[in-house]
Amino acid sequence: MAAHRAAYNTPTHRSRPRGQRARSRARLPALPHSGNVTCFSLANGVNLYVYANPSSPSVVVNGYLEVGALDEPSATKAGLAGFVADCLMRGTQRRTYAQIYEQIEAVSASLSFCSGMFTTSFFAKSLAEDLPLMLDLLSDVIRCPTFPESEVAKERAEWLTDLHERATSTSAMCGLVFNALCYPEDHPFHYATDGYPETAQAITLDDVRQFHATFYAPAGMAIVIVGAVKAEQAHDLVTAHFADWSAARPARSVNLEVPPIAERRRKHVHIPGKSQTAMLLGRPGPSQLDPQWLACTLMNSVFGQFGLYGRLGERIRKEEGLVYHIGSRFEGGLGPGAWNVYAEVHPGTVDRVVEIVRAEMRRIREHKVKPAELDDNKAYFVRALPLRMETNEGIASQILNMVRFRRGLDWLLEYPDRVYAITAADVQAAAQRWLDPDHYVLATAGPEVENGASSAEGFSVHVDDRR
């Protein structure tokens, strides 16, 4: 549960490193597609996808269960789904907490869970020879956790410590405020999936056990296995560990529609002792099921990703030196996550950065992207595919995305054509639909708001002094 802090003397980069990319040692036969990904469906609704990478020495198991924060009973139990996921490895009918970790760490494998709004994901990695052990453990902790009282108490203490740390993280607090401003109180996205100190205290052991008993079920579970494993072997192992799981969960019914943002909303969280201000500017965006999704991501690449952070990087870092890191992203998954610009800036330059961001929003809405810039971004999207497939993790992640977002397993084969079919008009339409320089949310967290910074034109400013 506890966040892993980097060693304090970390390498100092020219720009913030991007996430770990994929890894593998086998010559990859091809992009994963319906011809080389073997699919199995168990009668209870578990779906297995296997991509054999025979000469890789490692194996990755990645997947999800259809249980998440959307299943929490109320806002007073915010964080329950995540807490249950964190407690899965605290003991089972066959293994104590110590035995679970001893077995995993004796072979230097890893196994972890992460609960989001819609699903609870799992990730395991080991040497190929240890796959049977990892699937046995995965099944054991998902299906048969006992949630021992003393262990749940320890997990809760770690959770509370994390929440205490979160309260002084400018980026984390900025994110909380941003979501609270973007989504109304009756919308699930208003609340943090990792809960709040008061909900962490209020959730009982019965809540944990009840939530697991009610919502953990095989239907809709996806398991992707990539590495030195034969499809039949993977199928036999998954069948042995999951085929006799017959739990059922109640249907989910939630309304995820978001009312439009019709004004500018701004809120600052004062965290004393900080040097910089974290900021998020944006509004609710599309889900990845939206037909316009790919055009949206291409537009976003132009705006705040390509090269050193796209147009935002050119204007705000390279031309004005106002930030070390800035960018934009669509956060949508199965639901309407936000589009936002994120940056960490000197407290005195927040308004200048906002001004440039808004000007760039107007530019991409009002003027079609020039052919050369569009071509650069399309080339990046298509040519970067091999790098994403270099490892078992990367391949598993791509397969899982195709499954999760119902794209079909031939999505990657069709991907270049889809990308090259996007026109400048499509990009402009995506910008006009999702980027609005006059109606948005601006959340900031950091030192005290400096004179002038809190009186930006047209804002209703809320300064939330937490102390």
Binding site: N9, R25, E105, T168, A379
Partner: protein, 435 residues
């Protein structure tokens, strides 16, 4: 160019201008990685010029005579690649990973900026602001503030005593000419190592490298770092107070250099105490709940997490143990538990089974840490700068020769109260006012 095939599919070469090259063919994926290593980092700095190595790194992306600032990033991205760089204690590294058939683009860019970076005055000034912003971003993190104080307290003589990003006053005072002169002094073929790994024919790549780098002139030898940190004669303590209600504890012990005879036993000791780390500068590693310190501190309810860090360096650096104090616990309680565990290693030793587990963990981490072309190029280049490539290729073999007695010797030699700098970050917002 002198070329040698040295086993494990590795080829080494040295150009007449002093540039060292190490290459490894990997045909797993149609990808190739280049990393260029300059033997200059914060170790080469002194008071007044702290942070200059990192500043040069930033300016290497601000354009050359041949490539504009815009093109340096654009060309890599539009060809499906990624690029970045980082500055470290002992070196500065630039790297690109691309589809294999585009690797020569990276060779072109890197060869050009080895000697032709522009260092325009305006770019230098803008990057000063960017770096000051970067420093402020780090300052937002209590762990950075604590770490900076610990390094300063642990080193009285050696330049390892300051953070890589440097002090704000030095960053404010340095001029364009200072930074440019530093670049000219350290950026030359005879002070660099090129590491390439990926889906290529090594002979072809060596020819490409010779064509692009062979004409570059060597620089006068860079000044050697003469500073030697004297032995520590007693415990040092630093306390940082700040926002929040979470406390952090770090114990930092002077540790041997990467090539020291004690180093591998120290790796084993770290694995027993905290679990084997991912052999990556960028995190990694598996779960860490069955190690001695995790059991004592995290299971015991004293800390929310604990980790160890043994960094391979040219000169003796630090071994650090870091813990996040559990809400409701005192930092002194956590420190006492750490010392109890260290005393237990010294008194009772470690078992053969613990050592075997450390070796198995390390074997797996080695596999996980070298699966990509990028990580292979990283480790080959890193090893060549720190020692030579065999430092990495024989890593597991040397670890397997470590005995339980070796581990106890290292614990007795380094994990002592006279050799420690204890750092405490005390959150000032506790409801009970205990801090």
């Amino acid at each position: 160019m002198r070329v040698a095939r040295v086993g494990d599919g590795i080829v080494r070469a040295k150009l007449p201008n002093g540039l060292r090259v190490i290459a490894k063919e990997m045909h797993a994926a149609p990808v190739a990685a280049l990393s260029v290593w300059y033997r200059v980092g914060s170790r080469n700095e002194h008071s007044g010029i702290t942070g200059i190595s990192h500043w040069v790194e930033h300016l290497m992306f601000k354009g050359t005579r041949r490539y504009s600032e815009f093109d340096l990033d654009r060309l890599i991205s539009r060809n499906g690649g990624v690029n970045n760089a980082f500055t470290w204690l002992d070196f500065t590294t630039y790297y690109e990973t691309l589809p294999a058939d585009k690797l020569t683009l990276a060779l072109d860019l890197e060869a050009d900026r080895m000697t032709n970076a522009r260092f325009d005055s305006r770019a230098v000034a803008l990057e000063r602001d960017v770096i000051l912003n970067e420093r402020q971003m780090y300052e937002n993190n209590p762990a950075f503030r604590l770490g900076e104080e610990i390094q300063a307290a642990a080193f009285k003589v050696h330049p390892y005593g300051h953070e890589i990003i440097g002090y704000a006053c030095d960053l404010q005072a340095l001029t364009r000419d200072d930074v440019y002169a530093y670049y000219r002094r350290y950026y030359a073929p005879n002070n660099a190592v090129i590491a390439v790994a990926g889906d290529f024919d090594a002979r072809d790549i060596l020819a490409h490298i010779e064509r692009r780098y062979g004409r570059l002139k060597p620089a006068p030898p860079a000044p050697a770092v003469a500073a030697v940190e004297p032995p520590q004669r007693g415990e040092r303590r630093v306390v940082v107070r700040g926002e929040g209600d979470t406390d952090y504890l770090t114990l930092a012990f002077h540790a041997p250099a990467a090539t020291h005879a004690d180093y591998m036993a120290f790796v084993a000791l770290d694995a027993v105490l905290c679990g084997a780390n991912g052999l990556s500068f960028f995190g990694g590693g598996g779960n860490n709940r069955s190690s001695r310190l995790s059991r004592a501190l995290v299971d015991g309810g004293y800390a929310a997490d604990v980790s160890g860090s043994l960094v391979p360096t040219l000169d003796p650096f630090l071994y650090t143990l870091q813990a996040t104090v559990m809400a409701g616990r005192e930092v002194a309680e956590v420190e006492a538990k750490v010392w109890a565990e260290l005393d237990r290693v010294r008194r009772d030793g470690v078992t053969r089974a613990e050592l075997d587990k450390a070796i198995k963990q390390t074997r797996a981490q080695l596999v996980f840490s070298t699966e990509t072309a990028t990580s292979q190029a990283f480790w080959l280049g890193f090893s060549e700068v720190i020692a030579d490539y065999t430092w990495f290729t024989t890593f597991l073999e040397r670890l397997m020769r470590v005995s339980p007695e070796d581990v106890v010797c290292v614990a007795n030699r380094y994990l002592t109260r006279d050799n420690v700098t204890v750092g405490c970050y005390l959150g000032q917002d506790k409801a009970n006012g205990s801090a």
